[in-house]
Structures are given as C-alpha cells and as structure tokens.
C-alpha cells in the first residue's frame, strides 16, 4: 500500500528543549492508526510538527511522497490534511453552520451545499443546531463541529488530537462511531489519544508513545489486549466504546 503520511526521524520541541525525539512512523492510504501515550508524552507536539505549527529541529515529514519542508499550516491543510486540534479551536461567536462554512471557504456555492449536507448526514445533531453559536454547545457537540469543520476541507488524511477529552463515555462512543463510518468510506485517519482504549478499539494499528519516543508499534488488537498498556494509559478504563 502507498504511504500517505510518513515521518522520518522527526524531532522538535520548545525553546531548545527537545520533546519529540527522532520519531519515524508511516500511515498508509486508507488506514486507521492510533498513537497512544500518557499525559505530557509529546503527542500534541508531534501533531504540531506534522501540521507545521512548530518548526522541526530535525527530520522530514512527507505527504504522499512530497517533503512538506517548512510549509505553513494552511498550505498543509490545502494539500489534504484535515486537522482537529487539541482544545477544538472553534470560532465561538459564530454559528455551527458558519464554522463549517469557513472550513470550505474556497468552495463554490453548490459545492459548499453538498459538503454541508454530507456533514449533516454524519452528524445529524449539527443540522438541528446549525444556527446556534458554538460557545453555547456541549463539549460533544463542539467536538462534532471541529471534526465536521475539518471534513469540510475535504481532507485525504484526518488527524485528531485527543477527540475524547472531556466527553462523557456515551458521547465518546458516538464520536468514534462516526470516525468508523468515515474510515469505512475510505478516509485515512490518524488519532492521538491518552484514552488508549477508545482509540485502539477504533484503529487498525497503534503506536505507543513514551517520553517523546515511539516504543512500540503493533496491530491495535494486540495492544488492546496488553494488560500493562491498558493499565498504564487507560487508568479507569470503562467499557465506553463497546456499544
């Protein structure tokens, strides 16, 4: 299978302190991959390096074989990486629909309508909330808007940073159900989570991330049945995504 995203010995950090150490990983077209790691392991930093939010101190990031070099974030999005950042980064004073529309601000009117219809099909709840300001939504609804907004850019690869943070177990289940459907329709998904259980149940393959290093890569089912791993990262594991 062709590699869609490839990292070669990528390092980076903040103000001279390296947080991500020579990480190499690859994600094939159509794959669903998770990276799990504890609080402060450097997961967000890794994604910021992939998205060009942070200049790497070493290594390269390739998208479909092209070196992304120092491209700024917006160029990477235009090349087909959809990004669901940590903390959601919504436009709080705008409505749900306005948020979604900005994700496709370069699309024509008809194109925009089609993409909106697609998002409302994945998240029917958003259609009912379309005129609501995002500031007023629940955490789960906000997360749906963020995912929807990233999908409006028509990505080939969707990258999510801890989508389950702060959500009730049932909502986490709903969210991952939607991600499953998206993956089934052919989207490549890379999700980073502290909630190893939810992410590994969804993914096909998993990377274990510790202190800025990748320490293991294995089929997700194998990692899921590793008691040590589930214990260390899930903590109070709940049967949430098992619906």
């Amino acid at each position: 299978m062709p590699e869609l995203l490839q990292l070669q010995q990528v390092s980076g950090g903040y103000h001279g302190r390296t947080v991500v150490h020579e990480v190499s990983l690859s994600i094939a077209e159509g794959e669903a991959v998770a990276a799990v790691g504890a609080n402060g392991a450097g997961k967000t930093t890794l994604l910021r390096l992939i998205m060009g939010q942070l200049p790497p101190s070493g290594g390269q990031v390739f998208l479909a074989g092209h070196d992304l070099g120092r491209l700024p974030t917006f160029e990477r999005v235009r090349l087909g990486i959809g990004y669901v950042p940590e903390g959601r980064a919504l436009f709080p004073e705008m409505t749900v629909e306005e948020n979604l529309e900005i994700g496709a601000y370069r699309a024509s009117r008809t194109e925009l309508r089609q993409r909106l219809a697609y998002i409302y099909q994945i998240f029917p709840r958003l259609q009912r909330l379309r005129q609501t300001r995002c500031r007023l939504l629940s955490g789960g609804e906000q997360q749906m808007v963020t995912v929807g907004r990233a999908l409006m850019t028509q990505p080939r690869l969707l990258i999510l940073d801890e989508p389950s943070t702060g959500l009730a177990p049932r909502v986490v289940g709903e969210l991952y159900q939607a991600l499953r459907a998206l993956h089934a329709s052919g989207l490549t998904v890379f999700v980073v989570e502290q909630n190893a259980y939810a992410a590994l149940r969804f993914a096909q393959r998993g990377y274990v991330f510790e202190d800025g290093h990748i320490t293991r890569v294995a089929p997700a089912s194998e990692l899921l049945h590793d008691p040590r791993l589930v214990e260390s990262y899930v903590g109070r594991a709940s049967p949430m995504a098992s619906s």
């Binding site: 700024p72 980064a89 004073e93 900005i102 370069r106 907004r149």
Partner: protein, 293 residues
Amino acid sequence: MLQLQTYLLLLLTGIMWGGVYLLMASGLNLIYGVMKVVNLAHGDFIVVAGLLAVSLYGAFRAGPALAIPVATLLFLLVGGLIYRGLLARVETTAPQGELRTLLITFGLSSIISNIALLIWGGQYQSVPFFQSAVHLGALFFPESLLVSSLLAFALAFAVQLWLTRTRSGRLVRATAQSELGAASCGLNTGRIRLLTFALGAAMAGAAGALTVVLIPVQAASGGFMTVQAFTLIALGGLGNYLGALLAAILLGVIEVSSSYFLGASAASAVIYVIFILVLIVRPQGLLGQRGRI
C-alpha cells in the same frame, strides 16, 4: 423649557463627541480584536495624519476631502510595511511574545513622534475647515463636530457591516476568534494579520486627517491619544465592536455633561473614575462576550 433644551444639547453633543472618540479608537480596537496586539503607536499615527492634513492645507488650501484619502492610503502602506518588517518577525506564541510586540510598537511610537517633532515642530496646529455653526431647530452645533461625528458613525457602521456581512470580514473574525482554527481551515492567517494591521493603521490615518479640524494636535500628542483610545476599547471590552460604540457614546455624554456642570478639569477625572469602576465591576467590558469581533 430652557432646561430641556440644555439637556438635549448636552446629550446630542455628547453623542457626537462619542462618535469622534469611536473613530479615534476603531483602528486600535480592530488590531487588538484580531491580533491581540496593543498598538502603542496608534495615537502617533493619528497625530502624523493630522499634521499631514495641516501641511496639505498650508500648501494647497486642501481640506479633509483630500487629506483623508491621502492619509488613509499612506497609513495603509505604512501599516503593511510595519507588519511585514517588524511585527511578522516576532512570534506571538514565543515566550514574552506579547511583551515584545508591545515593546516594538512602543519604540515605533517614540520614533514616529520624534520624526514628527523634527518635521512639524512642537506647537499645536489645526485645519480651519468646517468652521460654521449648524442649526438644528433651536439648537446649534459646531459644523466640525457634526461632520466628524457623522463620518465617524458611518465608518464604524461600514466596518461592522464588513466584519459581519462579507466573506473577507468573516474570515477576519474567524482569525480573531481562533487563529489555530482559521489555519486548520486553510486560511493564510499571516496575510489576514497583515491586512488587519494595515487596515487598523489606515483607520487611524483617516481619523487623524478628519479630527484635526476639531482637535488641534502637536507632535507629542500621540501618547495621550493612545491612552484615550485604549480607555475606550477597554471599557467596551477589548476587541468588542458593539461595546466600543456603547462606551464611546457613554464617554462622550459623560464628558460633555460633566464639563458643563462641573468644569473641564473635573470631567476628565469623572471619566477615569467610571473607567476604574467598570474595570472592577465588569472587567470584561460593558458587554462581555456579546458583540465580540
């Protein structure tokens, strides 16, 4: 009867001064709202634009009709160059990034006011335009105040329409509300910041070229104007457009009526008392979240 007329006059004059203050603060408010940068050179932009209008008047007897477009375009360019050359090079996310941008605009402020001092000298100057009085029923107003406030409200309204009703305005608001979110939508946020700073500077230029018919300026007036404009936008809730409008009218009416009843020196004290009270009672500004860019 006479009482009522006095009150009406004070109210209308206050609203008009509010419009003028709003115009003088709009650029600062836009730049803060989008970029979270306090442009300490804002007042100096206003002053230089005003002094430029004085020179245009001296050389060609030209009034605001020429001075405003000239100053607007000039400061659009100056703002763009300052952003490209200086501000874009400072990462606001870096440690003390905000402090560094503050220091840059502070440095700019002293450079600009000293250059202005070399060119125009230190005396107060004004442009004698719109010098008649306008009668509205039994009331009359200085023409300069009437014209300035009408244009000021028109510009404020236009900016509000642009931000809420147009595509480019909406992208600017998106960047203001979440720069990371905007970048994740494929927006070139660096370009939006450039546009914002240039527009904010241009608004200061327009304000200076217009209000010099009403408020005489000298090379060092900029610092005070920045403080005044900052007071207004803080009262309105930093970066809040509706709040700034409300704060401007409130400040105008309070200033005009307290200087009528208590004298001019008491008026400025009253305004700062109210400002401090608002900071204590409603530190998020008059409107809080509502009306944010």
